[in-house]
Symmetry: C2
Subunit: 234 residues, 2 copies
């Protein structure tokens, strides 16, 4: 059975130092997991994109953040004033192609999305599996705006060790009727849940989620991208 079987607990990883290019993020996260008891089989670890990007050197000093966003985009969907809604090389549609000016190494710096956030997640998963003997599902999360709704929610931009979608097609409701809303973006829900624990202004770059059995699989966050031919809001 996939999902939560009872209580679900989310634990912040605290005490992670400021992450710099070349830092071994798996080791830093492992150190932060020790005081909260490490990892158990079935745990999910959600890691903020910001620290992943910094460890991978995906930062840049610039006096033209808009130019960097346009360079990082493979397509621009909308522009209004300073707001650029762009499609990234990964296929994600988000503001500024994911280029961010807060929580950077300093004034004039921007943080870019990881080049391959699934690979980032796989690397963290492998490092933690070696250390704790249990391989967590790993989600790299970022805050995205949405069409039609105010405010951002965190979503998954990279995953390892899970299928990001829970496909219930063919499953039945409590009366035996086939379910309608049949594909659930559980990786996005896990990322959003973790954001509640991370906050924005505190230094909590990762959250351990215990009690949720993920859909098994070797999925990619690109599975979460709506295929062009089904996109009604290009």
């Amino acid at each position: 059975m996939i999902g939560s079987m009872g209580e679900l607990r989310m634990t912040p990883l605290e005490g992670v130092p400021e992450v710099r290019p070349g830092d071994d993020l798996g080791a830093l996260l492992g150190d932060a997991l020790e005081p909260v008891g490490g990892l158990e089989e079935g745990d999910v670890l959600v890691v903020a994109q910001k620290v992943v990007s910094k460890s991978e050197g995906r930062i840049e000093e610039t006096n033209d953040p808009l130019g960097v966003s346009l360079r990082e985009a493979r397509a621009v969907r909308r522009i209004r004033g300073d707001l650029v809604i762009a499609e990234t090389e990964h296929g994600f549609v988000c503001a500024s192609a994911g280029v961010d000016r807060s929580n950077t190494p300093g004034e004039g710096w921007v943080v870019l999305l990881p080049r391959d956030p699934d690979a980032s997640a796989r690397g963290i998963r492998a490092a933690l599996a070696r250390r704790f003997g249990a391989a967590p599902a790993v989600i790299v999360s970022d805050s995205f705006g949405r069409a039609w709704r105010q405010g951002t929610t965190d979503v998954a931009i990279g995953v390892a060790g899970l299928s990001p979608l829970l496909d219930l097609r063919g499953a039945k409701d409590t009366r035996g009727r086939e379910l309608e809303a049949t594909v659930i973006a559980i990786a996005d829900e896990l990322a959003g849940a973790a954001e509640l624990v991370m906050g924005k202004a505190r230094r909590v770059p990762a959250v351990r989620i215990r009690g949720y059995r993920v859909p098994p699989g070797d999925g990619s966050a690109r599975d979460l991208v709506m295929p062009r031919e089904r996109d009604l809001f290009p």
Copy 2:
């Protein structure tokens, strides 16, 4: 300080019977809270729209579910085949104007959105406050699809006892720079988190979230609706 101060725990409310029109949902949820220890000050309760609608008699027998969706919509944004993306009277943009054919009272029935989901949330909050002496923040949740991303996530369609948006404008990052992604849709993140515990095919119509301090306020889920003039994807 708003947000999570440590571990965040989500507890499913089980044993709620099939809800019928006229049922006292506050009493049913209160009964389901008893075995898990009731409520404490600061708890958040996420309640699935489906049981709210049923208790309010927002169900209908029809051989024309599409017609019901069009009647419930105040505007149609897109149609492709069976898929209607519509704007509800509340301003929410979602498939079928929220009209749902699964987990209904039976074949040929549909469940509609509550007429005033904020009022539904306020009613549940008041009933539980009387019973437990602590007024929870209440969120009524539903599964919505998204532009550009596959799969649904649960979002807030009604709230009571909280501001659904956490506004960080003016707040500083760990280096003292003003934060960029400054408004977080925490009610949507709470709703999505609760979905992980509810599942779809089980009878878990509500989840208690403990350990998250909500932004105080007397907000409405309509605060989550992007105003028309800022909507880049009409």
